[in-house]
């Protein structure tokens, strides 16, 4: 589904990603962990198409298409979704209006009929229930005045509405209380199928108890320096990153 080869990216001439390689297949869950500032969010943003980052080397294939060649909106229409670490507040733009625009643009792109008002409202009802998002929030301005946890739930609500093939969840667990964590993780699990894939970026093993990964990768200093199975996350939780840094720097 996703194949990243030797990806290098810079911001303001500072190289942040220094040769990332990653293969994600349909049906898989990958976890990416790593110390603060190692480049996890940068990788997510580069994949989503943020213009500030300059890709200097490497390639990304997404379902047979050259991802880096697509505009951000077309990446989303092709089935990529990023749940942001810091969701943006957009005063005056209603959540509902924005999602309707997004869904209908995607449908048009795939030469499908636009959603009827009834169909759309049905989806809103079903998907907001999935993440137990208060229906009042759905009609408010995008993220405006939402609590940290509400913003994260809203990300998963949008993901549920858009039904992506590949979801990247950038620290969706941070800022969630224990109950919310379970709710969000359940939502993600219910949306999982053999046709889609999930990349979860997290600092905490706790989330991985709920969303069980097939593979765990450690991103350090712009590179994936170690990959393993879910046991690697347990090891990191216990020992921290120092031993990995030592291995890399040795």
């Amino acid at each position: 589904m996703l194949s990243i080869k030797n990806l290098h990216a810079s911001i303001q001439d500072k190289e942040i990603l220094k040769g990332i390689n990653l293969e994600v297949k349909a049906g898989e869950v990958h976890a990416i962990m790593g110390p603060n500032g190692s480049g996890k969010s940068t990788l997510s943003n580069v994949l989503a198409g943020r213009e500030e980052y300059e890709v200097t080397e490497g390639s990304v294939d997404f379902e047979g298409a050259d991802l880096l060649d697509l505009a951000p909106e077309d990446r989303a229409k092709e089935g990529l979704f990023l749940a942001f670490q810091y969701p943006v507040e957009i005063p005056g733009v209603s959540n509902i209006n924005f999602l309707k625009t997004a869904i209908n643009e995607k449908r048009e792109y795939h030469k499908q009929e636009p959603a009827t008002a009834k169909e759309f409202l049905g989806m809103v009802k079903e998907k907001s229930a999935l993440v137990e998002l208060d229906s009042k929030l759905a009609s408010r301005s995008v993220n405006e005045g939402f609590s940290g946890g509400e913003k994260k739930r809203n990300e998963i609500f949008q993901m549920a509405m858009l039904e992506p093939k590949l979801s990247i969840l950038d620290e969706t667990d941070s800022g969630l209380d224990i109950d919310a964590l379970r709710i969000v993780a359940n939502g993600v699990n219910k949306l999982k199928s053999e046709n889609n894939a999930t990349v979860v970026i997290t600092h905490y093993q706790r989330l991985l108890d709920y969303i069980v990964p097939d593979f765990v990768h450690v991103l350090y200093n712009g590179k994936i320096v170690k990959s393993g199975t879910k046991e690697l996350a347990l090891e990191l939780e216990e020992k921290g990153y120092d031993w990995i840094k030592e291995e890399v720097n040795a």
Binding site: R50, E51, A71, V88
Partner: protein, 426 residues
């Protein structure tokens, strides 16, 4: 000798063909007084404080002609779904054949030239425009051609809105229209005036409206400016409010090489409500200037002002909003706000909200912001599959929305929404 002609002389020379000999002595005298005042006035320069950010050189260095036009197709300029009385002015002259008025008891609607035969006009006419030391106002006082007179009698509610189509057509035309709107005691009326240009280059409209809002009356005036990129418009509304009255003005400006709106509101009685809103969307080299004054002279009044600008390309926006709270005007609530978005590095804004307060028991606030469109928000919307263009549209609509929230005519609000959408769907 040609060389001795000043710019003012040559502009006035282009008006010399106008003939007002039909008018009665009273109005002839008013014109003569205005001409005398004009002798003492000059066009503003960069040193004139009130005109500091708007240079009128481009307007006054040209020569213009007066042009009467027989027929014109107004259908493209009607507002879809709006059931209103239609009043048509072309190049400053009233077109009875194109207008369509449903008579209503208690409402007098006439071309101004005919209204000058009504005795009740005398006391009001020019009462808000004489000796204001504004040269363009004085030009209109002296040389206005025709316009619309609407008088709503006491206790009368206008059942339909009045839509004035103020059209210019032909090249280098000067149009000097003049309206008088009188809302009697406990009356209600809604007026729309659309300023439109049809295939004409370098036209200059210098129009004036005097609006009298009687005791307990409710008057809404909506102004749509949609001229093309090389047309000039200097526009003045002088508004006088009596006790317990409510006045709302909404100004939407979509275009214009130079647009200057002078809005002056005297709130000369207690318990009044005043709403002033504006939205201006500049593009190319447009220059759009809104100068407003709200003069609170008596206690217990509220005024609410919101102007918003979106400036693209190399366009310029100017906002100068002044609120006076006189010594007698205790318990005044005056709120004023101007927000701008610049879409390019070459667009710019001069924003100056001003408060002058001489009373002590008042609640007043003012603020001004100018910024870029939030790129992070655009990216967020794009990352959900929304094209950049639609993302901009969502953002700009969100920004502009409350600027015109006071328009109570649904068909007009929809029409303006559509125009905003069209602008950002290129």
């Amino acid at each position: 000798m040609i060389a001795d002609l000043t710019k003012k002389d040559s502009l006035l020379a282009s008006l010399s063909s106008l003939n007002f000999s039909d008018e009665n002595e009273y109005f002839a005298d008013l014109r003569n007084k205005a001409k005398a005042e004009l002798e003492t006035l000059e066009f503003p320069t960069s040193k004139t404080e009130y005109w500091k950010y708007t240079r009128v050189g481009k307007i006054v260095n040209k020569s213009y002609n007066i042009a009467k036009v027989e027929d014109i197709d107004i259908t493209p300029y009607l507002i879809p779904g709006l059931n209103a009385n239609i009043l048509v002015l072309v190049n400053g002259f009233y077109k009875a054949n194109l207008s369509k008025i449903d008579a209503q008891d208690g409402i007098t609607v006439l071309p101004l030239s005919e209204a000058k035969n009504l005795a009740q006009l005398n006391a009001k006419f020019c009462s808000l425009t004489t000796n204001k030391e504004e040269v363009f106002l004085a030009v209109n006082n002296a040389y206005h051609t025709d316009g619309i007179y609407i008088e709503v009698a006491n206790n009368t509610i206008a059942t339909k809105a009045y839509h004035i189509l103020n059209i210019t057509t032909g090249n280098n035309v000067i149009a000097l229209s003049r309206n008088v709107i009188i809302g009697g005691k406990s009356s209600q009326v809604k007026v729309i005036e659309s300023f439109i240009n049809e295939n004409g280059n370098e036209n200059f409209v210098n129009n004036v409206s005097e609006i009298f809002v009687g005791e307990n009356a409710n008057v809404e005036y909506n102004k749509i400016q949609d001229k093309s990129n090389d047309n000039y418009h200097i526009s003045t509304e002088q508004v006088y409010q009596e006790a317990n009255s409510n006045f709302t003005i909404n100004t939407a400006t979509f275009n214009g090489a130079i647009v200057r709106n002078n809005l002056n509101i005297w709130v000369d009685a207690s318990n009044c409500e005043t709403n002033l809103s504006g939205l201006y969307l500049g593009q190319n080299k447009d220059h759009i200037d809104n100068h407003t004054v709200v003069d609170h002279m008596k206690p217990n009044c509220n005024s609410n002002e919101v102007y918003k600008g979106v400036l693209d390309h190399e366009s310029t926006g100017v906002f100068n909003g002044k609120v006076f709270v006189r010594q007698d005007a205790q318990i005044t609530n005056a709120f004023q706000q101007n927000n701008n978005i610049l879409l390019t590095d070459t667009a710019n804004v001069n924003s100056k909200p001003e408060l002058e307060i001489y009373a002590d028991d008042v609640k007043c606030s003012h603020g001004s912001t100018t910024g870029q469109i939030d790129e992070e928000a655009i990216f967020y919307l794009q990352s959900r599959g929304i094209s950049k263009r639609n993302a901009m549209k969502l953002m700009i609509n969100a920004f502009a929305k409350d600027a015109l929230a006071n328009i109570s005519i649904t068909a007009l609000a929809d029409f303006i929404d559509t125009k905003i959408e069209e602008r950002f769907t290129k």
